[in-house]
Symmetry: D3
Amino acid sequence: MPIATINIIEGRSDEQKEKLIEKVTQAIHEAIDAPKQNVRVILNEMPKQHFGIGGESVKKMGR
Amino acid sequence: MPIATINIIEGRSDEQKEKLIEKVTQAIHEAIDAPKQNVRVILNEMPKQHFGIGGESVKKMGR
Amino acid sequence: MPIATINIIEGRSDEQKEKLIEKVTQAIHEAIDAPKQNVRVILNEMPKQHFGIGGESVKKMGR
Amino acid sequence: MPIATINIIEGRSDEQKEKLIEKVTQAIHEAIDAPKQNVRVILNEMPKQHFGIGGESVKKMGR
Amino acid sequence: MPIATINIIEGRSDEQKEKLIEKVTQAIHEAIDAPKQNVRVILNEMPKQHFGIGGESVKKMGR
Amino acid sequence: MPIATINIIEGRSDEQKEKLIEKVTQAIHEAIDAPKQNVRVILNEMPKQHFGIGGESVKKMGR
């Protein structure tokens, strides 16, 4: 019964998020032999000013 | 000083969320004898396209 | 499909933890009307030197 | 490669959040000698009705 | 710069965990086009008495 | 009432962890003007085989 939480920067399309859920679920299933229907994936979208790398937000870096 | 984080699908009313905080705090207090005023509860609301079960988002499933 | 994570200080018995899982699950079920079998609870036990309150670990406080 | 997640109540300015990322990164660097560029900080803003203290949300308390 | 945290029940081999890190990283890379070297994966192993399904720990269920 | 969770690789001394709690608490206090006694810090130590960078665990990299 694996539960994955994935933090990503905001800006991905719904199609990309759907693909992310699908592929990560498949990857967990293959790696540790957990039944696919038991896998849970939670996506957490971070606004650019809420994620810091090396002391600066991604927003400030202008990425 | 227990700290609980609860992930729930979006769509609950403020009244339900208040009840959730109240009842979970009471449950923790009763189970492990922690003073109620020391319990913290964080609710995290997930949009339907951000929660995947068995490789599909709840949104895609049409729930 | 609510998923709760509860951080507690180390030192509770297995019986207390079992009660914690049971009571928190029941509380979530009652508060937001989620089927009990859909609720997941993850306990995370913190060593006393890994939890800080007001800038000091619980270990250093001698609690 | 330390990764910090900080839950804060909604209502801080972008300037305060930027300062939070900067100062926490510096603090981690100084305390455990991790290179600053390796530190990641994730801010998670909680709406007042999503954070409970002692069984009541911060919203209900009127804070 | 995606960061994934995966909760799994204790008992997997180091080889399975290595495969889990590798495959989930690849899946994230493919789904949202993030450079592989930017992906971080944190595994969190749960003892059986620390994970509850439907109000009972996995340990109590005898799984 | 800020709550910080910091993931670090295993291997730091108790003294370093104490310093980490102290300095991060101070940093949060200064950045967003939260009273120090309200700040909570949770340290989460990751074994080297449980943290992956770019698809490989820190253990496998031999760091």
